[in-house]
């Protein structure tokens, strides 16, 4: 047909503009991805920059120590989180015993406790001057030399602290995996003559393994990026090394190279997780789910199960937060002072801003990707999303180094240019500003909002949009009538999760904050470093309280997630 009708013409125009939008979207996604990739690229770029004597000095003195400590820490935390996480998940999923309903969500609680804060509280409780040892000395009349008490501030202590607050990652994924498994498979195993231990070991555990490895990888990434705990316990690892080399020795190149090594470990974990996920993805052979019938435990078994679940909650959350509460009440000065409201306000306002930024960028990326368009454009967009989500794996100190170096370079260049051309010095425009800090937060936590937004937008199937279209609801109206009602809850979740992560963030804030700018986390760290533990309690308890929010969100989301579970039935 040679004649093009007006409507056809319009359609062609529309299609063309859609293509243009798609390319624009791809460009935008790529821009965001490259901004987020800057810190990683900078850090790896420094591998090729000679750092001179300082590097050989580091290599011969502290590097082996960093390596060994990091490995011991990783191995210890791995054993601890696997033991606690998998066993408690299995108990609350498959058995009925007193308190099980409460444990199933309370086991998430230690997630609210940042590792550096639990480290201060345990030091406060169990160190030489703490109430426990004092009590023992008074009770038995011991002197300083008369007894041995396990030192809290040691690598063993660090493993314990990190294990106690990181096991929920493993608990979370293993519980989800156990809930997802077909009960029928386990029951068939029973009728084939296997007892419940054998069924656990030979069916449930192998099936849950990919999920468990994912949880373990997350916990180990957190271990690698931990700064507060190891710094406070004087266990030398890469994060403390980067901090010291950067601020103490003033050697950005060497710090960046240490950061690159640390990123190497992180990438190893990322790859491990990916390979593991790809290689053995078990195809569940069932689409049918049954209500799980939990076996009722009695007597000593019920008691053991109770304590197995209670202990991690007690030591990982109740005891330290109780101590913090007690300290803040008995030293009201740490909360009731002129500065505290200011601290809370600055923490909250920066966390709110960062979470909004992260959400907006995440929405742009997700909707940009959803618009579709040419194959090449959508490939670029998908790739960009994957890159953008990688920031979560970058430890805080590495991020700080990776951002401050290029920002400093840019500042100097601008300053130089302005001075030679106009005779004005501009000084530092980017480094040491809230903008730099905000940038760091967005890079680090974009993955959180990205995953949440992506997950909820996926729930809106193309057929829903098409159904809306047949009813004449398109474009902006479709967004408000179809999308917004479906995803609004998840957007709130995304905001909250990032908000809390920013509240808790310590190392990047510590290194990058503008002069005189303090958050609750920084204050808690500073007070604790000065051995003013009771004064650290006020800010700490505020952070822990904020941290409980995502725990509630998580446990509610998971309770609803099991297919086949009747509505209203708590799992």
């Amino acid at each position: 047909m040679a004649v093009v009708s007006p409507t056809q013409n319009l359609n062609i125009k529309k299609a063309r503009s859609r293509g243009l939008f798609s390319s624009l979207g791809a460009g935008l996604s790529l821009l965001v991805a490259s901004l987020i990739a800057i810190p990683i690229l900078v850090v790896f770029g420094f591998i090729f920059v000679p750092a001179g004597d300082i590097w050989s000095h580091l290599a011969s003195t502290v590097l082996p120590l960093y390596l060994i400590n990091t490995l011991i820490l990783g191995a210890g935390v791995a054993v601890l989180v696997l033991t606690i996480g998998v066993s408690t998940a299995w108990l609350v999923t498959m058995y009925e015993f007193p308190g099980r309903r409460y444990f199933s969500w309370a086991l998430f609680l230690p997630l609210a406790m940042p590792a550096y804060i639990i480290a201060y509280t345990y030091t406060g409780m169990f160190d030489f001057a703490g109430p426990v040892q004092t009590f023992l000395r008074e009770l038995f009349g011991w002197g300083r030399q008369d007894y041995w008490f396990p030192p809290v501030r040691s690598i063993g202590g660090a493993i314990l602290m990190l294990g106690l607050v990181l096991y929920p990652y493993v608990y979370l994924v293993s519980r989800a995996a156990f809930l997802e498994q077909s009960v029928c498979a386990l029951e068939v195993g029973r009728t084939l003559g296997r007892n419940s231990w054998s069924v656990f070991r030979e069916i449930a555990l192998p099936l849950a393994r990919p999920a468990i490895v994912t949880g373990l990888a997350l916990a180990l990434m957190e271990t690698l990026s931990d700064f507060g705990t190891v710094q406070y316990f004087a266990v030398d690892t890469f994060t403390t090394g980067i901090y010291r080399t950067w601020l103490g020795l003033g050697e950005p190149a060497a710090a960046a190279q240490l950061a690159a090594m640390l990123m190497g470990f992180v990438f190893f974990l990322v790859i491990l997780e990916r390979v593991n996920r790809g290689a053995r993805k078990y195809h569940h052979t069932t689409g049918r789910y049954q209500q799980i019938r939990r076996e009722r435990l009695k007597g000593i078994k019920a008691l053991l199960a109770f304590f197995a679940c209670f202990a991690p909650i007690f030591f990982g959350f109740l005891l330290p937060s109780g101590w913090l509460l007690n300290e803040s009440i008995s030293h009201p000065g740490s909360v009731l002072n002129a500065e505290f409201p200011k601290l809370v306000m600055s923490s909250i306002s920066i966390a709110v801003m960062a979470s909004i930024f992260a959400l907006v960028i995440a929405m742009l990326l997700v909707y940009g990707n959803r618009m579709g368009g040419q194959k090449s454009a959508s490939k670029i967009k998908t790739f960009s999303i994957r890159v953008a989500a990688m920031g979560y794996a970058i430890p805080g100190p590495v991020l700080a180094v990776g951002i401050l170096i290029p920002f400093g370079f840019a500042d100097n260049a601008v300053d130089q240019f302005m001075r030679t051309q106009f005779g004005v010095s501009t000084g530092l425009i980017l480094s040491g500003t809230l903008f730099a800090l905000m940038f760091a937060y967005v890079v680090r936590f974009l993955a959180v909002s990205l995953n949440t937004v992506e997950g909820s937008v996926e729930k809106i199937t193309p057929s829903m949009e098409q159904a809306a279209r047949t009813m004449g609801v398109t474009g902006i109206r479709a967004i408000f009538k179809v999308h917004v009602p479906i995803i609004s809850g998840s957007l709130m979740t995304a905001l909250l999760l990032v908000f809390v992560d920013v509240m808790k963030e310590l190392p990047a804030t510590l290194i990058m904050r503008p002069f005189g700018f303090e958050t609750l986390a920084v204050r808690a760290y500073e007070m604790a470093s000065d051995e003013r533990l009771s004064e650290a309690a006020g800010p700490s308890i505020a952070i822990v309280l904020a941290g409980i929010i995502p725990v509630i969100i998580l446990s509610r989301a998971i309770g609803r997630s099991r297919p086949g579970q009747k509505p209203g039935e708590e799992s």
Partner: protein, 347 residues
């Protein structure tokens, strides 16, 4: 001899649902079907037999051993029963061979291998022994599930809707195959299904359940042709409900007079249940006997279904051989196969 005997069983699934069975027995080497609509307690009964749940009261005997009763409860792993679920519940992380050998622990490797190979040969699975379940088709998965359950030589096979995952074409084939295999191996089986056709096709004996109680048990023919009540009659096949009344001459209805032994217990109005195939049609112009007008007829291949309007306006369905398919609007004389007309004392 009975392989499985359940007596005086009572078990609450929830507060307002209980299963109560006075007597249920599965004869050795026979296939017993537990039939009923969903939520009738048939799966609960199977789980109790398997030892996956513990009954509140009552006794369960397998091969004469008490496996559940006063103070006795033998758990599933010690009952030596085979279990096949609707979704097969194959272990996705094990190969076909691994799945089949799973129940053969406490044996030498060689012996395990031999048993597995024999059963795989019998079920035509040898070629798949190293494959994983997700690589198999639905019918093959079903055979693996069967082989896995049979390998440890169970005392009884328990199957929970084992064919409902298959498509219609495959289903009939697999059903017949399964019956052959169970008969060949002399295995006693308890099969749960909601499909009356499946039960009639496979069972030596059907136990029809409703609301946790047994409505009737007997051979498929007994249940179909001699139902004890309206529920049994209508569950096993289509029925037409036609109003009738009893007068001194006997049971009268729009489709003719009926001889039924229950008629003597009834006075006045009642309802009869008539299977579609019990209604025989003959085109006629004579309006003296019972007649109906053909509204439309649907040809279903081997037979046709005829919608028939009675003089009162009531529409009933009759089933006729295709070669006898009447024209639309045709007036037909109606005669009944009296054996397939049911009258129950209390409706």
């Amino acid at each position: 001899m009975s392989k499985l005997i359940i007596t005086d069983l009572l078990h609450h699934n929830s507060e307002n649902f209980s299963v109560k069975i006075d007597l249920l027995a599965a004869e050795a080497g026979k296939i017993l079907c537990l039939l009923g609509p969903s939520g009738c307690g048939k799966s609960t009964t199977l789980r109790l037999a398997a030892g996956l749940d513990n009954p509140e009261s009552g006794n369960i005997h397998i091969n004469g051993d008490c496996v559940a009763g006063a103070g006795v409860f033998v758990p599933a792993e010690d009952r030596r029963v085979g279990l096949v679920f609707q979704d097969y519940a194959l272990f996705p992380h094990l190969t076909v061979l691994g799945n089949i050998q799973f129940g053969l622990q406490n044996m030498k490797a060689k012996q395990r291998r031999e048993i597995a190979e024999t059963i795989m040969k019998k079920l035509d699975l040898t070629a798949f022994s190293e494959k994983y379940p997700h690589m198999l088709s639905g019918g093959e998965q079903q055979r693996v599930a069967l082989a896995r359950a049979l390998a440890p030589n169970p005392r009884i096979m328990l199957m929970d809707e084992p064919f409902s995952g298959l498509d219609v074409v495959l289903r009939n084939h697999v059903r017949d195959e399964t019956v052959t295999l169970l008969k060949e191996t002399g295995t006693t089986a308890l099969l749960v299904t909601h499909d009356p056709e499946e039960a009639m096709r496979m069972a030596d004996k059907i136990v029809l359940m409703k609301d946790g109680r047994i409505e009737q048990q007997g051979t498929p023919a007994e249940l179909y042709s001699n139902p004890k009540n309206e529920f049994v009659a209508s569950f096993l096949g289509d029925v037409n409900r036609i109003s009738a009344f009893v007068n001194p001459e006997g049971l009268q209805s729009e489709v003719g007079a009926i001889l039924h032994e229950n008629a003597k217990n009834i006075t006045g109005d009642c309802e009869i249940l008539v299977r579609p195939e019990a209604i025989r049609l003959r085109p006629t112009s004579d309006a003296s006997g019972p007649t109906g007008r053909v509204l439309k007829s649907r040809n279903l291949g081997a037979y046709c279904l005829v919608d028939l309007e009675l003089p009162s306006g009531k529409v009933i369905v009759a089933r006729a051989a295709t070669i006898l398919q009447p024209e639309d609007d045709q007036i037909c004389a109606i005669s009944l196969d009296q054996r397939q007309v049911f009258l129950f004392a209390s409706v």
